[in-house]
């Protein structure tokens, strides 16, 4: 294994004049015949879990098995929004920890993840949504999260291009304002975790498809992949989109329906939109990247599917809605659209924890909000593997809650609220 160099101004200068190529950030490894922990899925959740297993618990004999390239699923398809202004105390607490980890991530990983805390604004277009926002703001404040309801005039100061008149079909009556929210470079988060996990000894196996889980007497004994079998007693399902199919390999059924979520990006223009703007009623959210493109996302498609093709209904609906919010952008051109797969649960909460099969853990069901939870989920899942039981932050999100009927209630803040 080559030594991972530290990124610093001095090393950048030295590398610049030496003109030799930078060493690879992670290496290809042969598949070992056994690992202490096998993680399915090389996205932000899987790689963060590998990183925290090594850094916090000294568990480094770990394989991350990814059927394509790392970050090719939800981690590379989301709209890169980070926030913690959720509706329930357990949800807010959980995502607040994630925002804190994201704030320190560039230093932790020695990798620039370009986290910009531009502020996150959720628009209210009706009295009832204003009421829910006051509720969310009060729950957030009790958890120590910076969150408040602001007036249309204050909205205009923060985002001058928004139409706050009473002309639109859905006029803007107020907003939930969350200054710590923002956007991040999602690929850099994946690469940073991969590089740091690799430096501590984890093996990242790309283009290695998971094909089966061997279970004997209710316990995991190994897994099958397209590059051969691996003996292991611990498997963590960190997939999004394919969570049900991987769990079915261990004979576990999950309360998940997979739905595509579409997003689109415009041509780049000069910076004019600082905060992230979200409208639940208009099923859209928009932010401007550092490069100047506007990134739009929607709610999930109206039916379940594993297809990641875009649809014309999405683009026409999106255009109608964002032009109503910001009439000035009517002449901008869309460059491309794409879709990612979202594993939706009945209560809009994730599923993290052990399963009825001993040694098979899940970190799935992340719906439309998995990316922003990557660091905290990785940290908590690593803690669960090391100690053998789920910690306080993830205890409310166990698979057994669907059997006992103790569901969480996060729909009000998670359905479109990015």
């Amino acid at each position: 294994m080559s030594k991972t160099p530290r990124f610093s101004a001095w090393n950048l200068f030295r590398q610049g004049i030496s003109r030799s190529p930078w060493p690879r950030m992670w290496d290809h490894h042969d598949l070992e015949s056994s690992y202490d922990v096998v993680i399915v899925g090389g996205g932000v959740h899987g790689l963060a879990t590998a990183y925290y297993l090594a850094r916090n618990h000294g568990i480094t004999n770990v394989a991350v098995v990814e059927k394509s390239y790392i970050g090719s699923g939800g981690s590379g398809r989301n709209t890169a929004i980070v926030r913690s202004n959720y509706l329930t105390p357990e949800g807010s607490r959980f995502y607040d920890r994630s925002v804190k980890l994201y704030e320190g991530l560039a230093d932790d990983l020695n990798f620039n993840v370009m986290f910009e805390q531009r502020g996150h604004m959720t628009l209210a277009h009706s009295d009832s949504s204003l009421r829910t926002m006051r509720w969310r703001a009060e729950v957030n404040k009790l958890e120590g999260i910076d969150s408040s309801v602001i007036s249309p005039e204050a909205i205009k100061d923060l985002a001058p291009f928004l139409d706050i008149t009473d002309h639109p079909r859905y006029p803007i009556l107020g907003a939930l304002w969350h200054p710590p929210g923002g956007i991040i470079r999602h690929d850099a988060v994946v690469w940073g975790y991969a590089r740091a996990a690799h430096a501590m000894g984890a093996h990242i196996h790309q283009e290695t498809e998971f094909t089966g889980i061997n279970v004997a007497d209710g316990k995991v004994t190994g897994v099958e992949t397209t590059r051969g079998p691996i003996a292991t007693e611990t498997v963590i399902n960190c997939t999004a989109g394919w969570a049900s199919l991987v769990a079915a390999m261990a004979g576990i059924r999950l309360p998940i329906v997979t739905r595509p979520l579409q997003a689109a990006v415009t041509e780049p223009v000069r910076q004019f939109l600082h905060p992230v703007i979200v409208s639940g009623s208009l099923h859209t959210y928009v932010s401007q990247t550092a490069r100047g493109e506007l990134v739009f996302g929607a709610s999930v498609d109206p039916f379940a599917s594993y297809s990641t093709r875009g649809s014309l209904e999405f683009t026409t609906g999106l255009a109608t809605h964002v032009v109503e919010l910001m009439p000035a952008i009517a002449n901008m051109r869309l460059l491309r659209q794409w879709a990612g797969l979202c594993d939706m649960t009945p209560d809009f909460g994730p599923i993290i924890g052990p399963t009825p099969v001993d040694g098979f853990f899940v970190d799935v069901g992340w719906g439309t909000y998995g990316f922003k939870a990557g660091p905290v989920a990785g940290e908590a899942v690593a803690g669960m593997i090391a100690t053998g039981r789920p910690g306080e932050l993830i205890a409310p999100f166990g698979l057994d809650r669907f059997e006992s009927g103790t569901l969480t209630a996060e729909k009000g803040a998670a359905a479109v609220g990015h």
Binding site: S244, L254, V257, P302, A304, S305, L312, F402, E403
Partner: protein, 87 residues
């Protein structure tokens, strides 16, 4: 765009329909227990394959349809009205 061949209205855009999910056997309400009922309510096969589904033609004839759809390619086949043509 998905086109559903409604036996009553002909080929229509899927926008006119609401998706009601995969069909699954419902336990006998008189003989079930809370655990079994919750498994029926929440757990799904969620297959990447041909799946039997129920749709509702909300902006058309307002009939319930049963159909088979491939959840990877979104091809649709065997559309039938629930309860038959006369119901």
């Amino acid at each position: 765009m998905l086109v559903i061949l409604c036996p009553h209205c002909g080929p229509r855009n899927s926008d006119e329909f609401t998706f009601q999910g995969e069909v699954r056997p419902r336990p006998d309400v008189n003989g079930t227990d809370p655990g079994e009922w919750r498994r029926y309510l929440y757990l799904r096969e969620n297959l990447a394959d041909w799946v039997s589904e129920r749709w509702f033609h909300v902006s058309g004839c307002r009939r319930y349809l049963m159909l088979e759809r491939h959840t990877v390619t979104n091809e649709i086949r065997d559309v039938e009205l629930v309860g038959g043509e006369q119901a």
